[in-house]
Symmetry: C2
DNA sequence: TGGATTATTATGTCTAGACATAATATCGGA
DNA sequence: TCCGATATTATGTCTAGACATAATAATCCA
């Protein structure tokens, strides 16, 4: 086990066990280096990792302190649906219901199938100015999400997760009664300041949920 | 701007612009160090950050490569409801509907109010063996989530987010029609291998959604 | 030619310093 | 006593090396 990992484990253990409580000051990096018999750079690396994990706060001159545990911040993986379904070992199919150019935006609407059953109804707008190649793509064969992943890198994204009853259009497309509770994922993606795409995916609630894990230990 | 940040920005820019494509090999750390006029340790730090952000893969002997962009992994903040409502500047209140000891578990059921309106219906099980102090707590005044945050640190958590129609009990508690689409958050928390608590929160869909952001740039 | 050994290479981790920076504590003067 | 200048301290970033480790490439022998 590396010094780095050992120091992190020692401090995290002290925090978890309650030996160090939120607000407590940790020994200085010099002291920790002397105590663990390693250099300060190594201690600093461990402290940076603990800080990233949200376990400690670092303040110049003042020192490092055990952070308040206040938020569960979990890493949510939002995979491309084709990859998700493939990873489940199921058959994936995309069906495009509509594609129309609407001024500066290309609107695409369609369904994602898992083993022949509709899993999600997708409504998407693609900003053609940011993704000029999209104008030449029919999206009949390949889902726009999959195509975009391969054609343009994003720099930031915003996700919104909500629940709502299926509208009549969504319900008909998914083959469920209108008003059925559905998980909805809305995602907007940018490349720098330029908008790339905005997508709304309505999931059949009985076939999909989202899972997020939280492990404070940094890698 | 530090060398670290400058190197990261340069490489990220090359990836975003398409100058470097997924699978491409980056220059070796020695070459990057020479090119940027800094030491290899600094380059290595920048590469570690890019790796954490999922932009590159690193393989010994082989070098570093631009990673495939395949998953949107976003950081989901799951705050304590009391803190969330306080942050919105609204009044928070907890109402305990039931508290009963059921073998090794303490079951608590209640409502979270925002400005006097029920926001979430909570059903929780606390493992008394892991949190012995909980046996002496009534949870009449303080919500179990808030209490647990202050009394026991967790080491890992698993979140599940789904949508479902409100059951008659949930609907009555929340004051919405039965079957109303609700966002549901289920969270299980452990301390090491010991289970701490499992909670299910049913949210009034019209008052709550979850937002997650994704910024690949490491801090 | 095939397979095992050896050399090479790039990352992974670490050291023992250095200077920069920001926040606090202390002290001197008005 | 209050205020401002100064000293101190802990983190933040960096250097120029070092050795470890793992994966590939080259080599040598059967």
């Amino acid at each position: 086990m590396s010094f780095d990992a050992r120091i992190r484990a020692a401090i995290e253990g002290d925090i978890r066990s309650g030996a160090l409580r939120p607000g407590d000051r940790l020994p200085s990096e010099h002291e920790l280096a002397a105590h663990h018999g390693c250099s300060r750079a190594t201690v600093s690396k461990a402290m940076a990792a603990l800080h990233r994990a949200g376990l400690i706060e670092r303040r110049r001159k003042a020192g490092s302190f055990v952070a308040d545990q206040h938020v569960h911040s979990a890493v949510l993986e939002v995979p491309d649906l084709e990859q998700l379904i493939a990873a489940r070992g199921h058959a994936y199919r995309w069906h495009c219901r509509e594609r129309r150019q609407d001024g500066p935006e290309l609107h695409v609407e369609g369904l994602h199938f898992e083993n022949g059953t509709p899993l999600a109804f997708e409504t998407r707008a693609i900003t053609v100015a940011t993704v000029p190649d999209a104008a030449a793509e029919s999206f009949a064969e390949v889902a726009p999400g999959t195509w975009l992943l391969a054609h343009i890198p994003w720099t930031s994204a915003r996700h919104r997760i909500l629940a709502a009853g299926a509208t009549s259009v969504e319900a008909e497309a998914l083959g469920v009664p209108a008003g059925t509770a559905c998980l909805i994922l809305e995602r907007s993606t940018w490349r720098g300041d330029a908008p790339v795409t905005t997508v709304r995916q309505v999931f059949r609630g009985d076939m999909f949920d989202m899972v997020a894990h939280f492990e404070p230990s940094p890698r």
